[in-house]
């Protein structure tokens, strides 16, 4: 009994310690007596330290010194004090910088304030790569044949309940819920994908109480997250297994994996996966295995066999010639420049690989027997010299065009879509004009052409606006 009590006490201590280690951005920073104070947990993981650094603009070198146990840190012209609290907590503090010092450009400050204050929230998010739902009750969300059924239990005394989310542009009135047994329900058409949403109960915004999955938006608001699945991982049998998970390149091969659910025939997991190519494996009670129901199995360069899954239409990457080469690898921004994942297949005239990538603009290169090279057949590039990458726009929806300038040696288009890169994108001269196709999501774009080093407006575009240099930028709207 005594031993049991001892274990219980230890258990509680362990629980409270692990609870302390939790990373809660709301509990890190405060202002007290003209000091900015950060409460830091020395048990935070590398990722949590990174998030600390991102959220509060603290340099990683400064954070390392805190974790190294320094008590006074001179950093960036300021003196930071570290006060030890009860292990593992420490307080990092310094005086708040209230005055605008000489040499400080007030306009810079204004720009940040302006960005934070006037953030409209309409900027398109990057599309999610994958995800699974996490509801506490089974009937809270059902997705079949392109229709999503939402069920909000409770709130029976409410007069009106609305559903607002990324799918209806956060409209407060477009999607009223209907009264259902012990709650509210609605059925709406939705494409597969990831969405964020909230309920509005008599004017009050709430996250979905039966959905565990939430995320903070840019402003720090918490929204519920749901996924309309477009694929189901299935593993027949193994009914005696305790735990089956699936993991793959979509989850950085995290061994924790995503837990599958047991049904009468085996294990399954509905997921949303964006268009693309995925390598995956199951882990049955910790034992790795490829998907027995999927004939598409490939070896990676390390010799491991993985199951492959393609969502969407493939694009054929081709390299002519090099028939005597032993190995050709495709690498690019679509697979984080992996040097060994995508081996091309040898044909009679060269090399090729059909590969599914989500719509977008990508940079890529071939690695021919260890030597990196841009695609010789593709005129579109970014960068210069050795740092030149080929550029491909999949499902391009806009073509930049510049008529004439037939004697120009180099014509580039650059803008806010490529971070105003001075070395790209390189256009190609075809049928009397310079062109470059791109995949652009809806929104406003500003750009310029660079003809033999000279920046010019698009002569065919009447729409332009002033920029901070007193020259102008061409403006393009993609609807």
């Amino acid at each position: 009994m005594k031993l049991f009590r001892y274990i219980l006490v230890l258990g509680i201590v362990w629980l409270s310690l692990s609870a302390n280690a939790q990373f809660n951005p709301d509990k890190i920073c405060r202002i007290d007596d003209n000091q900015v104070i950060f409460t830091i947990n020395l048990k935070w993981t590398e990722n949590e330290r990174k998030e600390l650094s991102n959220l509060f603009d603290l340099d990683s070198a400064l954070i390392s010194q805190v974790f190294a146990g320094k008590t006074t840190i001179e950093y960036g012209g300021e003196t930071w004090m570290v006060k030890k609290l009860k292990y593992p907590l420490v307080e990092l503090s310094k005086p708040i910088l209230t005055t605008v010092q000489d040499g400080m450009n007030e306009n810079d400050i204004f720009l940040v304030i302006d960005r934070w204050m006037n953030f409209g929230g309409t900027v398109a998010e990057n599309p999610a790569v994958w995800g699974v739902n996490d509801f506490t009750i089974g009937n809270a969300f059902v997705y079949t044949s392109g229709r999503a059924s939402f069920y909000l239990p409770g709130f029976e005394k409410a007069k009106k309940v609305y559903l607002a989310g990324s799918f209806n542009n956060w409209s407060t009135t477009k999607t009223p819920m209907n009264r259902a047994s012990s709650g509210w329900a609605i059925n709406i058409p939705l494409e597969p994908g990831k969405y964020t949403y909230k309920y509005i109960v008599d004017g009050r915004w709430i996250t979905d109480p039966v959905n565990r999955k939430t995320e903070r938006d840019w402003e720090g608001n918490r929204n519920s997250v749901l996924l309309c699945p477009n694929h189901v991982f299935n593993l027949k049998g193994f009914l005696k297994a305790k735990k089956v998970v699936v993991t793959g390149n979509f989850y950085n091969w995290n061994q924790k994996g995503v837990e599958m659910m047991r049904n009468s025939e085996g294990w399954s997991l509905p997921v949303y996966l964006r268009e693309g190519t995925y390598a995956y494996k199951f882990l049955v009670d910790g034992k790795w295995m490829t998907d027995p129901a999927n004939p598409s199995v490939r070896k990676d360069a390390g010799g491991n066999e993985n199951s492959f899954l393609e969502i969407g239409e493939p694009f054929l990457f081709k390299l002519n010639g090099f028939t005597t080469a032993e190995k050709v690898v495709l690498t690019g921004s679509f697979n984080y420049w992996s040097r060994n994942e995508l081996l091309l297949n040898k044909t009679s005239t060269g090399w090729e690989l059909p590969y599914v990538v989500a719509p977008g603009n990508y940079e890529y290169k071939f690695i021919v027997d260890g030597k990196w090279m841009p695609d010789p057949e593709n005129p579109f590039t970014i960068g210069k010299g050795e740092l030149t990458n080929s550029l491909i726009a999949l499902k391009a929806n806009y073509i930049f065009e510049l008529n004439g300038f037939e004697n120009a040696k180099s014509v580039l288009v650059t803008g806010n879509f490529n971070g105003w890169n001075r070395d790209g994108y390189k256009m190609s001269f075809e049928n009397g004009k310079w062109i470059l196709p791109l995949n652009l999501r809806p929104g406003k774009y500003i750009y310029k052409f660079i003809v033999d080093g000279k920046w010019i407006l698009d002569p065919a575009n009447k729409l332009y606006e002033a920029n901070e240099y007193g020259t102008d930028n061409s403006v393009l709207w993609i609807e």
Binding site: D26, F56, Q101, W116, F119, S171, E219
Partner: protein, 209 residues
């Protein structure tokens, strides 16, 4: 120019580049409507319904063509000052603070020169450091007000920026302790009547559970 039943003639307008607003909002903008056009109407802002209602008013400021009586006001304040800027009285940690009301701003702001007690009630969730010439630096903090009240009504969890608002002092020619923006506006239904020089708010957000 017409807005439904409201007609304006011979309005003065400046031609300006509004591209920066487009770039931020991602929407096309043809023009901005200034406060000049709102001086002789009663403005009702209802963010929860995404509604802006304008009522014609007579010389006393009473609605001329509407039978609805208007909102049930939880807090009423006279509009002071020289006209176009609306100052509101708020309270944090028992201290009276002078805010200007900016319907175009997304978030509230508090001057970091504000009272120590006021600042200590804030939760800070983000920080950014700005560097200038030499060693010059400044910082902007972002967080939430936990202890804001107006007319006795407590409003929790409103987002705010904490920074130096010196340039705003100069622009408004008065001391301001902060600025109230959209996330104050969405707390209820707001009525602004420049003829009566009266501001009213009926709190609706989080009013019932």
């Amino acid at each position: 120019m017409e807005f439904g039943d409201l007609t304006y003639q011979r309005m003065r307008a400046d031609v300006a580049n509004l591209g920066h607003i487009e770039n931020k909002r991602g929407v096309k903008i043809l023009g901005l409507v200034g406060f000049g056009m709102m001086k002789n109407v009663e403005i009702v802002l209802d963010a929860s319904q995404s509604e802006l209602r304008l009522y014609k008013v007579d010389k006393e400021g009473k609605r001329t063509n509407s039978k609805s009586a208007g909102i049930k006001s939880d807090y009423t304040q006279t509009i002071e000052g020289n006209g176009n800027i609306l100052f509101l009285k708020g309270m944090i940690a028992g201290k009276n603070l002078n805010f200007c009301f900016d319907t175009g701003a997304e978030t509230n702001a508090i001057n970091c020169d504000a009272n120590k007690t006021v600042l200590s009630t804030l939760t800070i969730t983000r920080r950014i450091e700005l560097k200038g010439a030499g060693n010059a630096k400044s910082e902007v903090l972002f967080g939430r007000m936990n202890d804001f009240t107006m007319g006795g009504k407590k409003i929790s969890d409103m987002e705010t920026i904490v920074t130096n608002l010196r340039s705003l002092h100069e622009a408004y020619n008065t001391t301001i302790d902060g600025m109230l923006g959209y996330n104050f506006l969405e707390q209820g239904v707001i009525t602004i009547n420049f003829v009566k020089r009266q501001f009213d708010i009926q709190f609706t957000k989080g009013a019932e559970k």
